[in-house]
Subunit: 188 residues, 2 copies
């Protein structure tokens, strides 16, 4: 029995290149790519979190176009991916949707070292721990990453994705999410 | 000594959802994301291949904006990634840029089983084979994937990315490239 693994993409609070807390705009391909990766790795849900109603409406329009509009028939695989998308205004709504904060374990992701982390191999093991029934919410930040306040309310931080050159880490959130899911859940 | 690993994104010949051979339009985030992933995993080059001059000019404008324009100073990491981008009209130009077809080994990628493949673990080993000085060109297709003609001229095909549910594979090319590079070159 594997634990439920919802993915969540945060647009606020995140930091910009100077470390200031900002709200980012929705990127269409973030909606698609993370939904497709989430479906591929059997994540139960993909939460897009945005505090601005007009931006949530935009994401809902994208979702509806692919789940019920003309494109749903044209690309059924995409329909299946976008069906897992849930649009919420903040993290509290994510916890609520999953039964409350006590029912979830929250893992933040970060590109840079920001303190103690859990290794991907360890995360992989914990995801198949049959004695823990809590869902693991995997948080990704847009912009320059999750604000410190989001890190602080998380239970753990996943180790940064290490490639060959440890000093360079400037992956897109679309690439980072794909790699993280593959390391946590991909066939080995 | 690791072998050189250029990445190439093919816009023609690729197939559409009905299997017809088509030319796809350039997607801005393909240019960025694959460049960022390529730089992260220390790929020597990222070739964007497009037969239409106006599309190549568009990619060149994107490149220039990030390597020499106002954004180069704003995000130096992005500059470093986009600096590895090379814009060519066809596969022959890729081989030429790398010393000729005999100097490269070509690995195609595909989302579905299309015959004998090499496993990622095997690919990983072959990439660190000190007795082989050839570069390995990793080919990715846009649209619904590389045309059969491109598969046929390749030396090998990498196994499809397997997640948990083998019947679903509808990753974006941005996600697929990131996962493939991580499996072939990521720190273990």
């Amino acid at each position: 029995m594997r634990r439920r693994l919802p993915v969540a993409l945060v647009h606020y609070p995140v930091v910009d290149g100077h470390g200031a807390i900002v709200t980012t705009a929705v990127t269409n391909l973030d909606v698609h790519d993370l939904a497709r990766s989430a479906r591929t790795y059997d994540c139960s849900d993909y939460f897009v979190i945005h505090p601005i109603e007009a931006q949530r409406e935009l994401v809902l329009r994208i979702r509806t176009h692919w789940t019920d509009g003309s494109s749903a028939k044209r690309i059924p695989d995409r329909r299946e991916a976008l069906s897992r998308l849930r649009i919420v205004s903040g993290l509290d709504e994510v916890w609520d949707a999953l039964g409350g904060r006590a029912c979830v374990e929250v893992w933040a992701t970060a590109a840079r070292d920001i303190g103690p982390t859990i290794a991907f191999a360890q995360g992989r093991e914990r995801l198949s721990d049959p004695s823990d029934s809590r869902a693991v919410v995997l948080l990704f930040g847009t912009g320059w990453g999750l604000a410190q306040g989001v890190i602080a309310l998380s239970d753990s931080v996943l180790e940064p994705i290490r490639a060959t050159d440890e000093s360079y880490n400037h992956l897109s959130v679309r690439a980072a999410c794909a790699i993280a899911l593959d390391r946590l859940r991909g066939a080995r």
